[in-house]
Amino acid sequence: MNKILIFAIISLVTLSSCEKVIDLDLNSVSPKLVIEGTITNTGMPDTVKLSKTINFQATNEFVGVANALVIVTDNTAGIIDTLRADAKPGYYITSKIIGTQEHQYSLRVVSEGKEYTAQSTMPQQVMLDSMYQETETILGKNIIYARCRYTDPANQTNQYHVKAYKNNKPLDDIIISKDTYNNGLNKTFDLATSDGNSNKEDNIAVGDTIKINFMCIDKKVYDYFNSLAQTLDANSAVLANPLTNISGGCLGYFSAHTVETKKIVIQ
């Protein structure tokens, strides 16, 4: 919100502000391992993805890392699951683990002779109260907002993460919250708007289907996404790789979280 206002003001004040794509000579860097592991309560098999970073100028392409040993353990139930490699390189799929609230999970990855480990606990699920659209008039413009709302339980510490999709295309905004300042209260998320996104491609319009995955995440995973959001904003005080909860020296995160999926069609 702060950012939208500041941009509104800057554009009011400066009739001459302008944007252009520039060429930057960015260093190339030796590839680093990225691990993205999620355990969910959807009942579906879960995936741990292993990939390598690429140079900034390279074509966006997922460089999967094959031939790794990936083990997920449900520490609470005592189930050890050695993940099977999927046909798609870098994808490893669970077969025994069924994600359950309040269970603690461990991840162990051995790749290219190095070992990486992480833990994550799936929080109790908080369900959405509703997902809806509203129109607000700002500076004479009618702007459509897709929103969702939930009620935070007062008796526990909660963290939330919403991933939104427009017509199945993932939107870039990282939407997260923790209940430090609104424990036990209603909370509304702006999921997407018809105007004012930093990335214009993410603006929504009538007819678009907005789908969300509403996730309850643990504290360390919240810290990961909070710092990831900072790294995507060039105005942040610190630009650095996000705080991973995986030890061993790689990028990415391991998260056991609940998922609730909802969608609306903008009218």
Binding site: L5, I9, K20, K32, V34, S51, N199
Partner: protein, 768 residues
């Protein structure tokens, strides 16, 4: 301490007391307005090199043998006055000198320039002439000293729309901005496009680049000492301007003629008024205002009191959906007292407050955030004129700081208040300005500062990984910890001849308050935080040498200064730091050392039709902090290798002056990604080192024309027209990275530039 006391005693003893000497003292004023004048030289004809300079209240004291003397009173922009006195006893004498523009109505201003820059022991000092500043072209025509000083050597700009100023490699929070002695904690209006200093209200500006005399302290890199006008003691007058973005009006006049006067100046921007003309912007506000006020009264021949105040506020609101306002309020009550013709005293009681408020009532969010910093300060300065060649200054300062980092209230939040920070900053100081020989001037002193962190509050013990391992509660006003710092200051000038000198300086400064920001640009919500049991006082030792030379009878002045600064307990953020509303702020910070060094070149033409200067700074500023870039030295954000300013103004005729300035600087150090990877269904950036890249170089030309429209006895008016960024350079404000909108398989860098070809026009008037 003991050694120090002895040396002070020795200084006293070294004064020759000769029975038949008498003292001439008083104040020097502008003949027309009665405004006291700072830095006026008073020289004795009979004794070459015997002379004094008026202090910040226009006071002078000169001691001479019994008998008749001829004195010259000279100051830049004023005609030299000759005064004859017959000293048979101590005499108090008010001196009035005439402004040159009143005397000569010629095209070529043949102002006499003194060689004060050569002889003065003070190094790293930049004086600004308000008349000179008024001719410089600036953004939207808003004359702004904080922008003008960035054209001087060693002082760098934060770029377009950045309120920050960087002095000799120091960070943006290492500058002490004083308005009539009151600290101004956030000098930015409108997100940094303008400063809080309304130039119409200012009388004198001195910028010390870290080598300041001992009466100043509290920041590592610089002191900008800004003094407000006192007001015309003879008659009422008004001046003002109507501009594109703001209008200003100042009124001044006597309270009782020759005894007291007042000065009031107000400024308000009105961009929002144009917006309000359209119904769709109803309820939107976007403005700032400043109000400067000052009054003085001479109670007796020995006592003058001054009361000054500043209030400023920025307000931005989108109806009742979102609003933010912020502002400073300062007040200074001063009492000048003359104990005798040689002992001048000033007592100041100062308050300063900065606060911001955010209101959000949008999309299910309804809350208010408040934050403020407040100072109450008592200061005592004595100036003892031991002899014409020796002035001793001593005194103390005691400041009680209260910081309310943040308080959140509202229906969509559970009310929360971050713990208030209380602290007590004390200092005693003594310094001596001593003309030891004809060829040697010294200005040496010691400041001894103490900073006590006070309760009430919880104080945390952290382990090496910045985890809280213990919490201790301290009761109200209980001392948590006290830090002590001796801060020696030493300046010396070796005068080679009338037109050249060599100077050396050493200074140590300690800083107890630190600015924490969650964005790379300055913002009204940047937070001051106090030194505590975890955050240590920052210190800097600066060493500098300089060579100063004037040419052509002081028509040109030039200097080369070299400095090296060694900094300790420098602060930077941990990777992924979360500093927004964090009670345990120290868990997010890292500490280390810093170094800054550079060379400053300055060449200035003071008089003639054509005036101006060239300044060039070659410098480096780096930090070394465990936990950042593997503990290696890395460039600080404000590290800009080359920094050039060329300022020129040409008086074409009696009525028309044209001016231009061009600036160039290496881009600041910045963090860019070196790679990317897919996570969370999106491409995100891989960073390899902090501040490892450079923004593109910044350069810009501004031009301006000042036209005198009318010049009558009781009325004058002029028109100022300007063009900022005249060749439309797209200077990068920020560089963002994103997926290519036309090709999802590519990523791209996007540069945003703010100001190109910004015209301005303002009409200035004066009634008297």
């Amino acid at each position: 301490m003991n050694k120090f006391t002895i040396s002070i005693l020795l200084l006293f003893l070294s004064v020759n007391i000769i029975a038949q000497n008498y003292t001439l003292s008083g104040t020097v004023k502008d003949a027309e307005s009665g405004e006291t004048l700072i830095g006026v030289g008073i020289k004795v004809l009979s004794a070459e090199q015997t002379g004094v300079v008026t202090n910040e209240y226009g006071f002078y004291s000169i001691t001479l043998p019994q008998g008749k003397h001829t004195l010259f009173v000279e100051s830049m922009g004023y005609t030299t006055d000759t005064i004859r006195v017959n000293l048979t006893q101590n005499i108090q004498k008010e001196i009035s000198i005439k402004s040159q523009s009143k005397v000569l109505n010629e095209v070529v201003v043949s102002s006499k320039k003194t060689n004060e820059n050569i002889t003065s022991a003070q190094t790293g000092l930049q004086k600004l002439d308000m008349k000179e500043i008024n001719l410089l072209p600036v953004l939207f025509g808003e004359k702004d000293i904080l922008k003008s000083i960035q054209l001087l050597p060693g002082i760098k700009s934060g770029g377009d729309g950045g309120g920050a100023v960087y002095v000799r490699g120091g960070a943006g929070d290492q500058n002490l901005l004083l308005l009539d002695e009151a600290p101004v904690y956030n000098a930015s209006h409108l997100l940094g496009f303008f400063s809080t200093f309304n130039s119409d209200a200012l009388k004198d500006v001195s910028v010390y680049k870290g080598t300041e005399p001992a009466q100043y302290g509290g920041r590592l890199s610089s002191v900008m000492d800004v003094r407000m006008k006192e007001g015309n003691k003879q008659h009422y007058q008004a001046e003002g301007s109507i501009g594109l973005i703001s209008s200003k009006l100042s009124v001044e006049g006597p309270i009782v003629k020759d005894k007291g006067s007042f000065f009031i100046s107000g400024r308000r921007t009105y961009a929002d008024m144009f917006l309000l003309a359209s119904p769709k912007y109803k309820g939107t506000s976007l403005y700032f205002y400043d109000l400067n006020m000052k009054a003085n009264y001479k109670i007796t021949n020995k006592d003058v009191v001054f009361l000054s105040g500043y209030f400023g506020k920025d307000n931005m609101a989108l109806k009742d959906l979102f609003g933010i306002n912020w502002g400073n309020a300062t007040g200074t009550l001063r009492w000048n007292h003359l104990f005798n013709s040689k002992l001048f005293s000033n007592t100041s009681f100062i308050v300063s407050n900065y606060d911001y408020n955010i209101d959000v009532n949008f999309g299910g969010s309804d809350f208010t955030v408040k934050s403020n910093i407040n100072d109450i300060n008592l200061k005592q300065d004595f100036q003892y004129y031991l002899s014409n060649s020796n002035t001793l200054k001593f005194g103390f300062s005691s400041i009680y700081h209260t910081i309310m980092p943040g308080k959140v209230t509202g229906t969509s939040v559970t009310d929360k208040t971050l713990q208030n920070q209380y602290s007590w900053e004390n200092a005693i100081f003594v310094s001596d300005e001593w003309k030891v020989y004809k060829w040697l001037n010294l200005n040496a002193g010691l400041r001894y500062s103490a900073f006590s962190v006070l309760g009430a509050g919880d104080f945390y013990t952290l382990d090496d990984n910045k985890n809280v391992i213990d919490t201790t509660h301290y009761g109200s006003r209980k001392i948590v910890k006290t830090y002590y710092n001796p801060e020696p200051r030493f300046n010396a000038s070796f005068i080679l001849n009338d037109a050249s000198s060599f100077k050396i300086a050493y200074a140590r400064n300690a800083q107890y308050l630190h600015l924490i920001s969650n964005s790379s640009t300055s913002s009204p919500t940047d937070k001051w935080t106090s030194t505590d049991n975890n955050i240590k006082p920052e210190t800097a030792d600066q060493y500098s040498v300089g060579y100063f030379k004037n040419f052509n009878k002081d028509m040109f002045e030039s200097s080369i200064e070299i400095y090296y600064k060694d900094m300790k307990n420098q602060i930077d953020y941990k990777d992924g730091a979360d500093v927004l509303f964090n009670q345990q702020l120290a868990t997010q910070l890292l500490y280390g050392i810093g170094r800054a060094y550079g060379m400053e070149f300055y060449l200035k033409k003071n008089v003639g039709r054509f005036t101006g200067w060239i300044s060039y700074t070659l410098s480096r500023t780096e930090k070394k902090i465990d936990g950042i870039n593997n503990g290696d030295w890395y460039a600080a954000k404000q590290d800009k290798t080359h920094d050039i300013s060329i300022v020129a103004s040409y008086k074409m005729s009696k009525k028309v002056t044209v001016s231009a300035n061009w600036v160039y600087s290496t881009g600041s150090a910045v963090t860019f990604p070196s790679g990317k990877y897919l996570v969370n269904d999106q491409w995100v950036w891989l960073y390899t080192s902090r501040n490892g890249y450079r923004m593109p170089a910044y350069h810009r030309l501004d031009i301006g024309v000042n036209i005198k429209l009318k010049e009558r006895r009781h009325y004058s008016s002029e028109l100022a027209v300007g063009l900022y960024n005249a060749y439309g350079r797209e200077n990068a404000y920020v560089i963002d990275f994103r997926e290519d909108p036309d090709d999802a398989t590519k990523t791209q860098a996007v540069q945003t530039a703010l100001f190109r070809f910004v015209p301005s026009i303002s009409w200035n008037f004066k009634f008297k």
